[in-house]
Symmetry: C2
Subunit: 235 residues, 2 copies
């Protein structure tokens, strides 16, 4: 809307479709190795060189507020159907989407239980919410859920999430794939692996669903056609 140039720092292993879509919106892309390099350092250096503003993916009040609009819309949509939500499930990487939703829900729908959902091996939120302090993942890569691999909950996001969230749920890669197939077959939606963890948690009974109304945030559809085809064919 502002016609500003944009440069996005993305992991090398980002799905090609996400890179292509990002470029088609007019942005430049710089990639980095998520195991060996520090994306914040790269972004800061480029911003210094160019006199640009860094827009971090989660660790910033305005980013969190922006992501929280998902929560406001979810609450509005539930209210328009005279529903009150028993729980909301939110995919978590750095925890910004969860923090924004946590603020939206505790203010406007305080009875709703809020859960993060993460893939196995990258359950830093689940462990951090259980222990009360920010826990780090052992690995930096190796999950199909490429969007959920931040190594540790953000400081700011965890300060918001810790007192407001019920718990963190964890799903396996096979469960994620089955949820993507379910979305294809029944919802007619394309959901990327990291976006499907919430649906996977519901379908596999990671929380009680009987008689409850549960909102699931499906936070993205950037999945490469080759991977999607492979998942469909393996069904």
């Amino acid at each position: 809307m502002m016609k500003l140039p944009a440069l996005i720092v993305m992991p090398e292993d980002t799905p090609e479709i996400k890179k292509a879509n990002t470029r088609s919106y007019g942005a430049e892309i710089v990639t980095y190795d998520r195991v060996k390099q520090d994306r914040e350092a790269i972004a800061n250096r480029i911003a210094d060189d160019r006199g640009a503003v860094v827009v971090p993916p989660f660790e910033h009040p305005e980013i969190i507020a922006g992501q929280g609009t998902t929560g406001l819309e979810t609450i509005e949509q539930a209210a328009s159907r005279d529903m009150s939500l028993d729980a909301v499930l939110i995919p978590a990487s750095g925890g910004g989407l969860a923090a924004g939703n946590a603020l939206a829900f505790t203010a406007n729908s305080p009875a709703t239980q809020i859960h993060t959902v993460e893939p196995e091996g990258f359950n830093d939120h689940a462990r951090s919410l259980a222990s009360g302090k920010r826990e780090r993942n052992a690995a930096a890569s190796g999950s199909i859920c490429d969007a959920l691999l931040a190594p540790v909950p953000g400081e700011l996001t965890f300060a918001i999430n810790q007192p407001r969230l019920a718990s963190g749920l964890v799903v396996s890669e096979a469960e994620v794939k089955r949820a993507m197939i379910f979305a294809f077959e029944h919802l007619k939606l394309v959901i990327e692996p990291g976006g499907a963890v919430g649906l996977a948690a519901v379908l596999t009974g990671k929380i009680p669903t009987e008689g409850r109304i549960i909102a699931v945030i499906a936070s993205g559809g950037n999945v490469d056609p080759g991977l999607f085809a492979e998942i469909l064919k393996a069904r």
Copy 2:
């Protein structure tokens, strides 16, 4: 809602996912050969045997009215965005969805041009609208658009459509596949071949789009995972 038993008469070559979903909703299925058999005769015989009511796919005032609710919703959604629609594109088989929309649009959005869209070789509406009388397709099968193969426009539906529609558009199989891929990549929607003809018509410029607002009805997502995967991989 009424807990009534249902039996659906479907072509043998119906996608497996449509059969599976239909069964999972509790219906019985009887299949027939769309080249050699007459589905109306089969349905009427079964209805006689069982004392059941035949619900035809398009040739009935109440079915047409029901399908027309798509048009009412489309008009409502456009109005809620302060948009007035220049055109609406409707996939056509027997013409019931088109007839319902034609009634909805001429009554509530009379400036909107209404077009059917069909696959090559099954363009009975395009030809019938051009000639002013019901034209028949040469073939009974042989298109990827399995839902759009009715042999001829319905009598009742064509009486409604003929005076109200602007024209019929026609798209190729390759154009349909590219539209399905576009929906996957950009809309994150699963659209079946027959449901994607309208989007294909827009993407390939079968009607002018410059400065116009065009509604596209995407009338179904029952595509077998194997076929969808094949289309994605061939991209």
